[in-house]
C-alpha cells in the first residue's frame, strides 16, 4: 500500500461524518437554487411574509404618521389662513346665496299671507292714489329703519359703559367686546392713521359706529340703511354726546387719574339718556 493510499483510508475513517454533512448541505443548496429559480415556488414562500409586513405597516400608519400629518396640516392651515379663506369663500358664497334665496321665498310667502282682505284694503286705497303696488308698500313697511340697540363703549378696552336695547339680545358686554375686536382689527390691518371703521353690515342689521376720544357709540339699525339714515343717526349721536357726555368728559378724564377714580356718571343715568335720545328716534 502506497503512502498515498494509506492517507486516503485514514481520511475516509476520520471524515466520514463531515462528508455526509457536506453532501446534505449541497443537496439543500440545490433545492434552494431550484426554489429560487422557480418564481412561483419562491413567491409562495415569500409572499405571506411580505403581506404580513405590509399589513402591520398599514395598521400602524395612524399611530406612526398620524400625529405628524395632523400637526403639519394644522400648521399649514394656521400659516395660510388667507389661502384657506380663499378656498372656502366660493363654497360659503354659494351657501349664503342659497340661504338668502330661501329667506326671500319665506318673506314673500309671509307677505302673501298678510295680504288678507281686510288689512289689505287700506293699502289698496293708498296704492290706488299713490300708484304703487301692494307688495312694494308692505315691503316698505317692513324695511323701514329702526334703532334696535345702542351701546356706549370704552374705546381701548371695549368694555361696555352703558347700553340701550329694544329687544333682548345676546349679552351686551360680549357684543361690545366683539365690536371692539372687529374695529381694532380693521383699523390695525389697514393701518391708516385717523381712519375709523364707520359701518358694519351684519345680515339684516347695520351697525353704525361713531368714535370719540375715550368712547365710541355703536347703533344697531334694522331695515334698509340709506345715506339719509346715516345722517340722522349721526345727528342723534352728536346731540347725545354733546348735550350729555361732553359736559362730563372732564370729570371722567380727571377721575381716571385719581387714585380711586369715582364712577362719575352712573351707568343708570346714561342708560336713561340713551333711551331718551334713541328710543323714540325717527330715523
Amino acid at each position: 500500500m502506497s503512502e498515498k493510499d494509506r492517507l486516503e483510508i485514514l481520511k475516509d475513517i476520520l471524515f466520514t461524518e463531515d462528508r455526509e454533512d457536506i453532501d446534505k448541505i449541497a443537496d439543500r443548496i440545490e433545492l434552494l437554487e431550484q426554489t429560487y429559480n422557480n418564481r412561483e415556488k419562491f413567491a409562495s414562500r415569500v409572499n405571506p411574509i411580505v403581506e404580513r409586513q405590509i399589513d402591520d405597516f398599514a395598521k400602524n400608519i395612524p399611530n406612526t404618521l398620524g400625529p405628524v400629518i395632523t400637526e403639519t396640516l394644522k400648521r399649514e392651515i394656521h400659516n395660510h389662513k388667507d389661502e384657506v379663506v380663499d378656498a372656502l369663500y366660493p363654497i360659503l358664497g354659494k351657501m349664503v346665496k342659497k340661504y338668502v334665496a330661501q329667506e326671500i321665498k319665506v318673506l314673500s310667502e309671509k307677505i302673501d299671507n298678510q295680504l288678507s282682505f281686510i288689512s289689505a284694503w287700506k293699502r289698496r286705497l293708498r296704492s290706488f292714489f299713490g300708484g304703487s303696488k301692494e307688495k312694494e308698500l308692505l315691503l316698505n313697511d317692513l324695511s323701514s329703519e329702526k334703532v334696535e340697540q345702542v351701546l356706549l363703549i370704552e374705546r381701548d378696552s371695549g368694555l361696555l359703559k352703558a347700553g340701550y336695547s329694544k329687544t333682548e339680545t345676546i349679552d351686551e358686554e360680549m357684543i361690545s367686546g366683539m365690536l371692539t375686536a372687529i374695529k381694532s382689527f380693521v383699523e390695525d390691518a389697514f393701518n391708516q392713521k385717523n381712519q375709523e371703521l364707520e359701518l358694519i353690515e351684519y345680515e339684516l342689521y347695520n351697525i353704525h359706529i361713531q368714535s370719540f376720544v375715550n368712547y365710541y357709540v355703536a347703533v344697531v339699525i334694522s331695515g334698509s340703511y340709506s345715506l339719509k339714515t346715516k345722517d340722522k343717526v349721526q345727528d342723534i349721536i352728536f346731540d347725545f354726546y354733546h348735550n350729555f357726555m361732553e359736559m362730563n368728559l372732564d370729570l371722567i378724564y380727571t377721575s381716571r387719574h385719581l387714585e380711586h377714580p369715582a364712577d362719575t356718571i352712573s351707568t343708570k343715568l346714561i342708560e336713561k339718556k340713551l333711551a331718551e335720545y334713541f328710543g323714540n328716534a325717527k330715523i
Binding site: K81, A181, S184
Partner: protein, 165 residues
C-alpha cells in the same frame, strides 16, 4: 357693585387657551382641536367676596409662536394678562422668559399670570425638574382636561383685579 375687567389670554398655538376658558366658563372639555382665528370673546361673572363680583370679559387670542407678532390693538386697555404654555411641549416654554418680557413690554403695568397647562400629560416630579432646568416659574399648573386649578387661576386673577381697582 359689579365691575367689568378685560383680560387677554396669550400663548403659542395649541397650548390650550380656548380649552381653559371653556373649562372655566362652561365647565366642559373637548379633545378636538379647533384653531382660534382672530379673537373670540366670552364673559363670566366671578364672585370675589360676599358682596362683590367682577365681570371678566375674556379675550381669547389666536395662538402664535411669535409673541412679538401679537396685534397690539387687541391688547389695548386690558386689565390682566394670562400667558399659557404647554407643559408637554418644550417648544412652547423654551423661550418663556423672553416671551414674557415681550408681553410685559406690550402690556406695561398690567398684572400677568403665567400658566403651564396640560399637566395631566406629564409626571409632576419630572415636570418640576424640567421647569427648574429651564429657569421657569409658573404661577399655576393647570389641566383644562381634568379641571385641575383652572377655577383657582381665574378666580385669583379676578380677585387681584378687583383689589387693584
Amino acid at each position: 357693585m359689579q365691575k367689568s375687567k378685560k383680560i387677554v389670554i396669550l400663548g403659542h398655538f395649541g397650548v390650550g387657551k380656548t380649552s381653559l376658558i371653556r373649562r372655566f366658563v362652561e365647565d366642559s372639555f373637548s379633545d378636538k382641536y379647533k384653531v382660534t382665528i382672530g379673537v373670540h370673546i366670552t364673559k363670566k361673572v366671578v364672585e370675589v367676596n360676599a358682596d362683590e363680583s367682577v365681570s371678566l370679559i375674556i379675550w381669547d387670542l389666536e395662538g402664535t409662536d411669535e409673541v412679538q407678532m401679537i396685534r397690539q390693538a387687541y391688547l389695548l386697555g386690558t386689565h390682566g394678562v394670562v400667558f399659557v404654555f404647554d407643559v408637554s411641549r418644550p417648544s412652547t416654554f423654551q423661550n418663556l422668559n423672553r416671551d414674557l418680557e415681550i408681553v410685559a413690554q406690550k402690556t406695561p403695568d398690567t398684572p400677568l399670570i403665567v400658566v403651564g397647562n396640560k399637566k395631566d400629560l406629564v409626571i409632576n416630579d419630572e415636570l418640576q425638574i424640567l421647569l427648574k432646568d429651564n429657569g421657569i416659574k409658573a404661577d399655576y399648573l393647570t389641566s383644562a382636561k381634568t379641571g385641575d386649578s383652572v377655577n383657582e387661576m381665574f378666580t385669583h386673577l379676578a380677585t387681584l383685579l378687583n383689589d387693584l381697582s
